[in-house]
């Protein structure tokens, strides 16, 4: 089946021809009062890459989890090759030919590639058999890898290959990819999509690609299904769609897009030259080192400056030290070498709370890890940065707290049932707004924004981007840590590239290009 044929009847169930590889009818799933998926109809045909695009909380993950058996639907049906299927767990899904490559890898680092691929096999383990199979598979799909390499030694891009090979070895008819490119360099992403195209066109398999990146959808997929609030709101033949139409369908209104036309925003370069007239940088790293001596250092002689009012983009493939920097500035690391200065004076960020007291606000990469307490209420999360201000003589001022929280909920448009709503009841985007609200009201000198738009929908990204710009305009120095080049290029006044704990390149926004940054991210020295 060619792309044109199955693209013809976009939006409706197949009227004729072979049944779709997998389709759902009126598939629904609720968590409590929230309908994560509401009567979802979707058709994924053989030989196509089918994009599933949606806001955070739109239900795309839930939908995929139902296909793979991790979530059991409340009602509706799943048909595989036109036959009703009962998918109660991932084993059942595998038997039906559905495999998934998760966003977070499930690899054993201490084992080799072939051993990881063999995990989950039953019966006798045949080393030559598995090794040959790995070799053949990587040949067939152009996913070159050494079967005897230790997974611990592999960079993230190759680890993902192992994950994909694991999945392909089960010969699935339908492959589901959840946000696969978030950990890859642009080149690695291109490689991945080339392989996927091969899988789809040569072997007639289907790929479901879950992503929030519009460009990826446009470049890679044959058709796109767009979800919003648990509903399928639109379907496009990709060839007939553009970024604007996809974004509109996804958010339900017109949005300003980060894209080619905004690649040279008017205001960059204006703010960038806030030199401070000799005043010290708001944040300075001097020869900062983290890690065991002898072993590979997590940060290795890292030096940089951040000026007031500047947005400094820190680009790099994930796992090259970005997380350590954010952890350091959150006061989560005890030991480090070198000095960290805020406004010219040394701050011992190894002491809990010192970084915060010095005026460093952080939007962490993983808000559940160090950003919010899910079990506590919105108000309690909002008061974390200044509990003493919300109390007198150690007793929490309940009404003052509610008033403060109400104000922030209003100002930052946080969608929740009120200040007393438990944090876990909020969607990811709204949890992120709680973090932002709290960090901004602390009136920081420095704002560390680590992957601030990860997992957010287009609308929320727009909001976050505006907030960061406003903060910079009000004089806050912003360290934007991101693995998304588009984000860096859109926001940053100056770009640093980090590779294996070292800064490998620095450039102003006007000097920065995707290619240049991409090469530095991969370890090339200019």
């Amino acid at each position: 089946m060619t792309k044109a044929e199955n693209g013809l009847e976009s939006g409706g169930p197949a009227a004729s021809g072979p049944p779709p590889a997998v389709c759902t009818r009126l598939l629904s799933k609720s968590f409590g009062a929230v309908a994560a998926c509401d009567a979802v109809d979707i058709d994924i045909h053989r030989g196509e890459i089918h994009g599933i695009l949606g806001e955070n909380g739109a239900g795309k993950s839930t939908l995929m989890k139902m296909l793979i058996g991790l979530v059991v639907p409340d009602s509706g049906s799943i048909l595989v090759d036109g036959e009703p299927a009962r998918i109660t767990d991932p084993v059942a899904a595998a038997a039906l030919g559905i495999g998934m490559v998760h966003q977070h890898f499930s690899l054993v680092e201490a084992l080799t590639v072939w051993e990881n691929v063999a995990l989950g096999d039953t019966g006798r383990l045949s080393r030559p058999g598995v090794r040959t199979a790995v070799g053949e598979l990587s040949e067939r799909y152009g996913l070159r890898i050494d079967p005897d390499a230790l997974v611990a030694d592999l960079p993230v891009g190759l680890r993902q290959r192992v994950e994909i090979l694991k999945c392909l070895r089960r010969e699935p008819d339908i492959l589901i990819f959840d946000e696969p490119t978030s950990v890859l360099t642009p080149e690695e992403s291109d490689d991945l999509f080339r392989s996927l195209r091969g899988v789809v066109e040569r072997e007639g398999r289907s790929v479901a690609l879950v992503s929030h990146k519009l460009t990826e959808m446009l470049d890679v997929t044959d058709r796109v299904t767009i979800m919003r609030n648990g509903l399928v709101v639109d379907q496009f033949v990709t060839a007939e769609a553009n970024a604007g139409s996809l974004a509109r369908a996804m958010v339900g209104r017109d949005v300003r897009l980060r894209g080619a036309e905004q690649m040279t925003p008017v205001d960059t370069g204006v703010r960038a030259v806030v030199d401070g007239g000799g005043s010290p940088p708001v944040l300075e790293f001097r020869k900062v080192e983290v890690g065991e001596s002898g072993a590979l250092l997590e940060l290795d002689d890292l030096n940089f400056n951040l000026m007031a009012g500047e947005i400094l983009g820190l680009a790099g493939v994930e796992g090259n030290g970005q997380r350590v920097i954010a952890d350091l500035l959150s006061g989560l690391r005890n030991r480090y070498g070198g000095e960290i200065l805020v406004n010219g004076s040394v701050v011992d960020v190894g002491q809990p709370g010192k970084a915060l007291a010095a005026g460093i606000a952080v939007i962490p990469e993983d808000r559940h890890d160090s950003g919010v307490v899910l079990e506590m209420t919105v108000a309690e999360n909002l008061m974390l940065s200044d509990p003493a201000g919300m109390s007198s003589h150690g007793v929490i001022d309940g009404s003052g707290l509610a008033e403060m929280a109400d104000g922030l909920i209003e100002r930052f448009s946080i969608m929740c049932t009120g200040p007393d709503a438990p944090m876990w009841t909020l969607s990811g985007g709204n949890q992120q707004r709680v973090v932002l609200a709290r960090e901004m009201t602390a009136e920081p000198e420095v704002l560390v924004a680590a992957q601030p738009t990860r997992g957010l929908d287009v609308g929320a990204i727009e909001y976050m981007t505006d907030q960061l710009r406003q903060a910079a305009e009000s004089g806050v120095g912003i360290l934007l840590i991101s693995s998304e080049l588009d984000e860096i290029l859109e926001l940053a006044d100056r770009v640093l590239v980090i590779y294996r704990g070292q800064v490998t390149g620095e450039m102003t926004r006007s000097e920065a290009t995707r290619e240049k940054i991409g090469r530095l991210m991969g370890g090339d020295i200019l």
Binding site: V72, S77, T88, G331, S370, L374, L384, A388, I396, G398
Partner: protein
């Protein structure tokens, strides 16, 4: 639709608790029959001994007080994410400190009484503080240390009861009597009052006040707030300058302090061992208090009724002797009650999972 399911859920939960409670009663009855007694006599004796016979409320309240103290202490350590299971030892050390203070501190009765209670708190806090210190300076799991320190405590106290310069009553040494401490003089005992024919120590009011106060502090003060943050997310706590070891240490000391206070209240209250420290003084109040905290699901307000239920079983069992059956049957009953209270949430969880699976199956 959702309102109906919510209502259905409530009915289901109530039915489950009732069913589990009933099952616990039936099984208890069967066990009683199996050991050759008549369940209605036994049930009657339990009720008589705990609440039904005139004046029995007093004795039950006397047992409720230390149970509630141990339980509220347990709630504090649980809040910060620590597992303190050594209350039995902390209580014993607290009681020993209290006894020692009672024989060494001169002064007017009421002041000595206060000193005795404070000594009990200090003793319990030292004992839990050992475990807390090992946890935060040497990373030794507090689950192990608190538990192991129980046997250290009971051996130490046993030793102290043999030495006149520690706890042993020197009068008792001369005679051929058991190893007991000097009896508290009348003016250092907890005053008792009589209400509706039930005679009990006024520490009951103290206990209620303490439980309410701690419940309020955990929910409404910065102290409780910080404990909760550390208990749920240590990294967030660290980021915001809340020291895990400080909060954990304070919670551990408070937890042991309340167990020690329970020991001191047992000594001064008169419902245990007649105002003396004896060997085996703690009579499992520490363990049972732990169960009280467990079934109270760490809610301070639930501590008082739950402590009363467990106390009733204990005082009721005193009347079993007349029925001629082993009083330890009540330990079995106690275990069954704990199960009856803990099973329904677990069953609900499993049923909901099964229901979802069944729904998935029936759709095909």
């Amino acid at each position: 639709m959702s309102a109906r399911t919510a209502q259905g859920r409530v009915v289901e939960v109530v039915a489950l608790y009732a069913g589990c409670g009933l099952a616990a009663l039936v099984i208890s009855g069967l066990i009683v029959e199996a050991v050759g007694a008549d369940w209605s006599t036994v049930g009657g004796a339990l009720l008589d001994g705990s609440v039904r016979k005139p004046g029995r409320w007093g004795g039950t309240i006397g047992v409720t007080v230390p149970l509630a103290m141990v339980a509220i202490g347990t709630i504090i350590s649980t809040k910060v994410g620590l597992v303190n299971i050594g209350q039995e030892g902390q209580l014993l050390v607290g009681a020993a400190f209290a006894t020692f203070a009672s024989t060494r501190i001169p002064g007017p009765g009421p002041i000595v009484l206060v000193a005795i209670l404070l000594a009990g708190i200090v003793g319990g806090a030292i004992w839990s503080g050992l475990a807390g210190g090992l946890r935060y300076w040497r990373k030794v799991p507090e689950v192990l240390t608190t538990l192991l320190l129980v046997s250290v405590a009971s051996n130490l106290v046993g030793y102290g009861l043999k030495k006149p310069w520690l706890l042993l009553d020197s009068e008792a040494k001369r005679g051929n009597r058991n190893l007991v401490s000097e009896q508290l003089p009348a003016d250092t005992r907890m005053p008792r009052i009589t209400l509706f024919g039930n005679d009990f120590a006024i520490s009951a009011f103290l206990a209620i006040a303490v439980v309410l106060l701690i419940g309020w502090m955990l929910n409404r003060t910065l102290w409780g707030y910080r404990l909760t943050v550390v208990g749920h997310n240590r990294r967030v706590a660290r980021r915001f300058g809340i020291s895990e070891s400080v909060q954990g240490m304070v919670a551990m000391l408070a937890s042991g302090g309340f167990a020690g206070l329970a020991g001191a209240l047992m000594l001064t209250g008169g419902d245990f061992a007649n105002y003396r420290m004896v060997s085996g003084f703690s009579v499992s109040i520490g363990w049972v208090g732990l169960l009280v905290a467990l079934v109270a699901n760490n809610r301070a307000l639930a501590v008082i009724p739950m402590a009363f239920v467990f106390a009733s079983l204990r005082t009721g069992s005193g009347f079993l002797a007349s029925t001629g059956i082993e009083r330890r049957v009540t330990d079995v009953v106690q275990g069954l009650i704990v199960l009856a209270l803990l099973l329904p949430p677990a069953i609900m969880f499993i049923r909901e999972r099964r229901r979802a699976l069944a729904a998935a199956g029936s759709r095909v």
